[in-house]
């Protein structure tokens, strides 16, 4: 249950094609994250799968069955919206029970599943409140509760954490991951935050302008980005890109090196002047200027390192961690 296949799916709004022909297959039980900059088509893709938008051409199959023309209600999918989309006039209990009420499930079973979901999500004490009386995190859990009671073929999440503050976001991220561990149901999760993608996904789909740039596990994308876009998008802080002679030496148009793969050494291949330093305690990031390679390079040092603004440092890239890209931005193997 929960295999979803997209076969040459396209979507146009009037004359504008936002999703060019796209193939993708999502395996049963997988946690798939669609990630990309805003406007890349990731939400549209999710809404196509949900049935909230018509596909212009192509086919969507859910568990082998063609669902392209099925209305959303018939697709056995549950969705958690960015705004949570809770029904403001219903109590938490009624919100969670709503999909079962629509499916005309028997009342005792409805109650049993609501209680169970509330227990799992720590909502038992709030069942008789209205959404307006809950905090952001609690609303989020109600939305998830409403999704799980249906026992859907797959869960769809549309940027569910973007309205939460930073601390809650980390907590909910863990809760959703644990939920996936326990339910083992397919989940499709849309976000623009690559940290969410890296920490939660079994499989990441990187999108840009409606096209898939790369599909793979988080570490695949980190280690072997297929092109410059993916290389720059995955990883934080961003990969440093160097063009010109330094790149030519490695037989590439552009080379990329992540901040964590540059060591600060007594002497070294590269040198520059320290600008801003970001002290995180566990790590220190230096923005290095005047390297002759790129405007600014970011370098990570482990722990607390005490270089000051204006200090001259030397850097050595780890040679096996260099990424090489050709003129069209594609990775050179």
């Amino acid at each position: 249950m929960g295999r979803i296949t997209l076969d040459k799916v396209t979507k146009s709004f009037g004359e504008v094609q936002v999703i060019p022909p796209l193939d993708l297959s999502i395996e049963e039980g997988e946690f798939v994250v669609f990630v990309g900059p805003s406007g890349c088509g990731k939400s549209t893709l999710l809404r196509l799968i949900a049935g909230l938008e018509d596909t212009t051409s192509g086919h969507i199959r859910i568990d082998g069955e063609d669902a392209t023309d099925l209305p959303p209600a018939k697709r056995r999918l549950a969705m958690v919206f960015q705004s949570y989309a809770l029904y403001p006039h219903m109590t938490v209990r009624k919100n969670i029970a709503f999909p079962m009420r629509m499916a005309k499930l028997d009342k005792a079973e409805q109650d049993r599943r609501v209680e169970e979901a509330a227990r799992v999500l720590n909502l038992t004490d709030y069942l008789d409140r209205r959404p307006g009386q809950l905090s952001g995190g609690q609303r989020q859990r109600v939305a998830i509760g409403r999704a799980i009671v249906r026992e859907p073929a797959a869960f769809l999440f549309d940027e569910p954490l973007s309205n939460l503050d930073a601390a809650l976001r980390v907590g909910m991220r863990l809760e959703i991951s644990e939920l996936h561990e326990r339910l083992k149901t397919t989940m499709i999760y849309v976000t623009h935050d690559q940290v969410e993608a890296m920490t939660m996904a079994d499989k990441i789909v990187v999108l840009q302008a409606g096209e898939i740039e790369q599909v793979g596990s988080p570490l695949d994308l980190y280690r072997t980005p297929r092109n410059r876009f993916v290389a720059g998008f995955i990883g934080s802080p961003k990969m440093n890109f160097i063009e010109g002679n330094a790149a030519k030496q490695h037989g590439a148009e552009t080379i990329g090196i992540r901040p964590e793969h540059i060591d600060i050494t007594e002497t070294g291949e590269w040198s520059g002047t320290v600008g801003v330093s970001e002290h995180l305690g566990s790590d220190t990031f230096f923005h290095v200027h005047d390297t002759g390679l790129a405007d600014v390079m970011t370098v990570r040092a482990s722990g607390e390192v005490g270089y000051k603004h204006g200090d001259r440092i030397h850097m050595t890239p780890r040679p096996d961690m260099l990424h090489r890209f050709d003129a069209s931005g594609l990775r050179i193997a």
């Binding site: 949900a50 909230l52 959303p72 209600a73 989309a85 809770l86 029904y87 006039h89």
Partner: protein, 276 residues
């Protein structure tokens, strides 16, 4: 929000505002007072009016003239009937335009509003003749339909501005949760729309209740609502101050109370959402 001011300043504001408020409200207050006086007392000097005794006589006289309740009942039927009928037609339209907006939605809305700009006197003759030829002059049916038509654009607009504030996400969530169109409307949209529908109902009943062009021109004894009934006091009977006051008080009291409840909606309803 409001900044702290000195008590003296606040006292001054209060005094000025209350004096002006009372002056504006005075004519209404005055007819309420006169309605509890005898005809003789009602035309005495202001001081004489205030010091004379109180009586319910005028109300019983107006009540005895059974035609008062006949006209009151006409007003109720016309205003409630036209508004409810209008809502039945407008709710689906406003729903569709708010949640499934198309390229033409804005134009359709603007065009609907433009029909409201047609001066009634411009179409007085045709409407009069149509009613005449259908035998509908001085009937409640004709007037109910006409009042519905003149308020329909306002009803649609008000509902539209309310519906637009319901997040589309929630309706999509209902669809994902397995609700069919009927259930989506019944369980999700309507409960959320009830406050908006209620204020639309209230404001349009007020507007229909006070409408005084068509009701004066298309009715006679049979279907005349209170607007036309009161107008019949314009000549000699107008000098019976106490009875006129009692009838007027009864004509405006229900609407005044409804109006006070719908202050907020009044603004957005009558400005078509341009001022909230």
């Amino acid at each position: 929000m409001a900044r702290a001011v000195t008590p003296r300043r606040k006292m001054l504001n209060t005094a000025v505002a209350w004096i002006i408020g009372l002056l504006i409200f005075f004519p209404i207050l005055w007819i309420v007072i006169l309605s509890f006086k005898t005809e003789g007392d009602a035309i005495r000097t202001p001081l004489g009016v205030l010091t004379s005794g109180w009586t319910f006589d005028s109300y019983s006289v107006v009540q005895e003239r059974s035609d008062y309740f006949h006209h009151f009942w006409n007003s109720v039927i016309l205003s409630v009937g036209s508004t409810v009928l209008g809502l039945v037609i407008a709710v689906p339209s406003a729903w569709a335009m708010a949640f499934v907006p198309g390229k033409q939605t804005k134009n359709v809305l603007m065009w609907m509003l433009s029909t409201k700009m047609l001066p009634p006197v411009g179409v007085l003759m045709p409407i009069y003749l149509i009613c005449q030829s259908l035998g509908l002059l001085d009937t409640r049916i004709a007037l109910t339909l006409i009042l519905m038509m003149i308020n329909l654009p306002i009803i649609i607009w008000m509902l539209y501005t309310y519906f637009r504030e319901i997040p589309g996400d929630i309706l999509e969530a209902a669809r994902m949760d397995g609700a069919a169109l009927k259930e989506e409307v019944l369980f999700v949209l309507l409960p959320m729309a009830v406050p908006g529908i209620a204020s639309t109902l209230l404001l349009n009943i007020i507007l229909a209740w006070n409408e005084a062009f068509w009701t004066l021109n298309l009715t006679a004894a049979n279907s005349a609502p209170l607007t036309a009934f009161i107008a019949s006091y314009s000549s000699p009977e107008g000098l019976f101050y106490a009875k006129l006051s009692a009838a007027s008080t009864m004509a405006i009291a229900p609407i005044l109370i409804m109006g006070w409840f719908s202050q907020k909606q009044l603004v957005r309803g009558l400005t078509f959402g341009a001022v909230k």
